[in-house]
């Protein structure tokens, strides 16, 4: 019973092994097919496909973060893209400052949109964002602080269930409206874009995107392992207990609000990191990322994959987004209906998602 660190981490469940194995294969095969296989070959993977895969994996990390709070602690967040977008904006600010004189207006300090708005000085919160370590700190700190403030108020007041979900929607919607305003200093409607380089690597180059893809794979693997450690620890058993019988857990002596708060903050940090990896690959961050519908989509990914499994959330994120890429190109007007139908269908027919279905099939076989 005295579990060693490794076995507590994972590796005695086949889902974890499959998931990490798939990530390893992706990390080996994708660069090979893009960089080594010649462009004319049928096996060549074009750079836009690498970027697309990288985007899916950022979504997978976001989905894992949502699964951690929803699947294991019963906190249904309908506003997690707020944290994702904040991480993205922190990265976007760094990338804006790297443009320097290469912008349309050629101002060495001010990003284009500030010159356009006739601003004379950098707003205070843009200072230091030209330094990579500061920007990375903000990637973590901005979502963490928002999550801490929100969670401290919500969990201490014992707001739970559907009420909490509605407040998270309001949170992300409020940020959407705020970031739309030019006066906020985040580029308003257009957001931040026209990035040139990241740490000196040219963002127009295919090899940079392969590098970003690999970093995303690594972040996803590490994020997954951290979540797996948490859910396999006694902390994980406490949050599941909170999910199943909150007042009982409180009665045994657990400070439920602290547990929820730190889980929530950690989940927000993971979402912020996912957003920060997303922005340089996509090349833009704008207030649209805060849209409430996006957060609801994340919940659908998790439900489709199978909540409370972590790898199921990642699987759902990749599959649903692949379907979205395909459908929005082939039948653009169908997508939202398909998404709605998917959610209803999964809820009614596959309450445990794809992973639940696979487990059922396997247990029937044996």
């Amino acid at each position: 019973m005295n579990k060693s660190f490794i076995s507590r981490l994972m590796l005695n469940d086949s889902g974890s092994r499959l998931f990490l194995g798939a990530l390893l294969i992706a990390a080996l095969v994708v660069p090979l097919l893009n960089l080594v296989v010649p462009a004319g070959s049928a096996l060549h993977l074009p750079t836009y496909a690498v970027t697309l895969l990288g985007k899916y994996l950022c979504y997978a990390l976001l989905a894992i973060a949502v699964d951690l709070v929803w699947g294991y602690c019963g906190i249904l967040s309908l506003g997690h893209t707020a944290f994702f977008a904040l991480g993205g904006y922190a990265m976007g600010m760094y990338l804006m400052r790297q443009i320097g004189t290469r912008g349309v207006y050629g101002d060495p300090i001010l990003p284009d949109f500030m010159v356009f708005l006739n601003w004379k000085e950098l707003p205070w919160f843009w200072h230091g964002m030209n330094l990579f370590p500061v920007a990375m700190l903000m990637v973590v700190l901005a979502p963490a602080l928002l999550a801490y403030a929100f969670g401290w108020l919500a969990f201490r007041s014992r707001v739970t269930g559907v009420y909490l979900s509605i407040i998270t929607q309001a949170l992300t919607y409020a940020l959407l409206l705020a970031f739309f305003r030019n006066e906020m200093g985040f580029g308003g409607n257009n957001g931040l874009t026209d990035f040139k380089e990241l740490l000196g690597f040219d963002l127009q180059k295919g090899s940079t995107h392969v590098g970003l893809f690999l970093i995303t794979v690594l972040a996803l693997a590490l994020g997954y392992l951290a979540c797996r450690y948490i859910v396999n620890s006694r902390f994980g058993r406490v949050i599941e207990a909170v999910r199943d019988a909150e007042s009982r857990a409180r009665f045994i002596g657990y400070k439920v609000e602290s547990y929820k708060l730190w889980l929530w903050v950690f989940s927000a940090i993971l979402s912020g990191i996912a957003g920060a990896l997303y922005v340089p690959q996509i090349g833009i961050i704008n207030p649209g990322e805060f849209a409430p519908i996006n957060s609801i989509e994340v919940v659908v990914w998790v439900a489709v994959g199978g909540r409370g499994t972590l790898y199921g959330a990642a699987l759902g994120a990749v599959l649903v987004n692949y379907a979205k890429t395909y459908l929005t190109a082939a039948l653009p007007e169908v997508w939202l209906y398909a998404l709605g139908a998917l959610f209803v269908g999964v809820t009614l027919l596959l309450p445990q998602g794809i992973v639940g279905l696979l487990r059922q099939l396997r247990s029937k076989k044996s």
């Binding site: 902390f235 599941e240 207990a241 019988a245």
Partner: protein
């Protein structure tokens, strides 16, 4: 550092550190004296006096509305009395403490409806209920020591669920859930156990086993059982207290109490 106090509070540090233990030098673990509780003019408890000895197994009976549950609520800090005093041992004033402090000091309460954590195993339920530092960081990196393992094993033995240790608590029978819940209370190492209607809805075999369990628990700790089932009370109790309209109507050995004309009147009507 100014920031650290906020972190400390949020992490729950300093919570449950060294709870006081009851002083049993006079061999009495619980004193309730002159406890009165009114709800909108209705006196749920009316100058109630009750003393529980250390190591005693006491049954409390009484018709509906006699104040049994309110009495439990007062002891555990859920309800504040309008008058009276409540002491845990010689030194601990229960009326000056909050619910979690009272639980930490060593008073465990089992509610009527069993609420175990259904998606955890029997073993994990006991692990979660274990006494100790329950702050976030400690729990995140917690490992079971050999001593703690032995403690869980001994409780599994006591409640008779040793063979079911890896079974999900949600799949247990009603009786097994009740025993698991008693086991969870034991993991917190209470000095005084309050048990509310433990055999409601149990089969006769389960009732019998529960009786054995409760009898075995007394001695090392005190056990107070509230129960309607007279046969069950007869099978376990040495001393019975009858509550009626918020105060003690009769107290003594079961045979004496059962033949007390006042008790007969209350229970059977005129």
């Amino acid at each position: 550092m100014r920031g650290s106090s906020i972190v400390d509070r949020a992490l729950g540090r300093g919570h449950r550190s060294n709870p006081p233990r009851p002083d049993l030098s006079h061999n009495i673990i619980l004193y309730l004296e002159g406890i009165t509780v009114s709800f909108d003019g209705f006196r749920a408890l009316n100058a109630l006096n009750l003393y529980i000895e250390a190591g005693e197994l006491r049954c409390i009976i009484g018709p509906n509305g006699a104040g049994k549950t309110t009495m439990m609520d007062v002891i555990t800090g859920k309800t504040r009395p309008d008058e009276g005093s409540a002491w845990f041992g010689q030194t601990i004033d229960l009326l000056a403490m909050k619910e979690p402090e009272i639980a930490a000091a060593g008073i465990g309460r089992k509610f009527q409806k069993p609420t175990v954590f259904g998606s955890h195993t029997v073993f994990e339920n006991l692990e979660l209920a274990m006494a100790g530092d329950k702050s976030v960081w400690k729990i995140l990196f917690a490992k079971l020591s050999a001593e703690q393992l032995a403690r869980i094993d001994s409780v599994l033995e006591t409640i008779g669920l040793k063979d079911l240790r890896s079974q999900l608590a949600g799949s247990l029978s009603h009786g097994q859930k009740q025993w698991l819940e008693i086991g969870m209370l034991l993991m917190q190492d209470p000095q005084l156990l309050l048990v509310d209607e433990p055999v409601a809805g149990m089969t006769p075999q389960e009732t019998e086993k529960t009786a054995e369990l409760l009898v075995s628990l007394a001695g090392q700790r005190s056990v107070v059982v509230v129960e309607h089932d007279m046969d069950f009370v007869r099978s376990i109790a040495r001393t019975v207290t009858v509550l009626h309209e918020g105060s003690v109507l009769a107290e003594g050995p079961i045979d004496q109490v059962q033949n007390d004309p006042k008790v007969v009147e209350v229970y059977l009507g005129e």
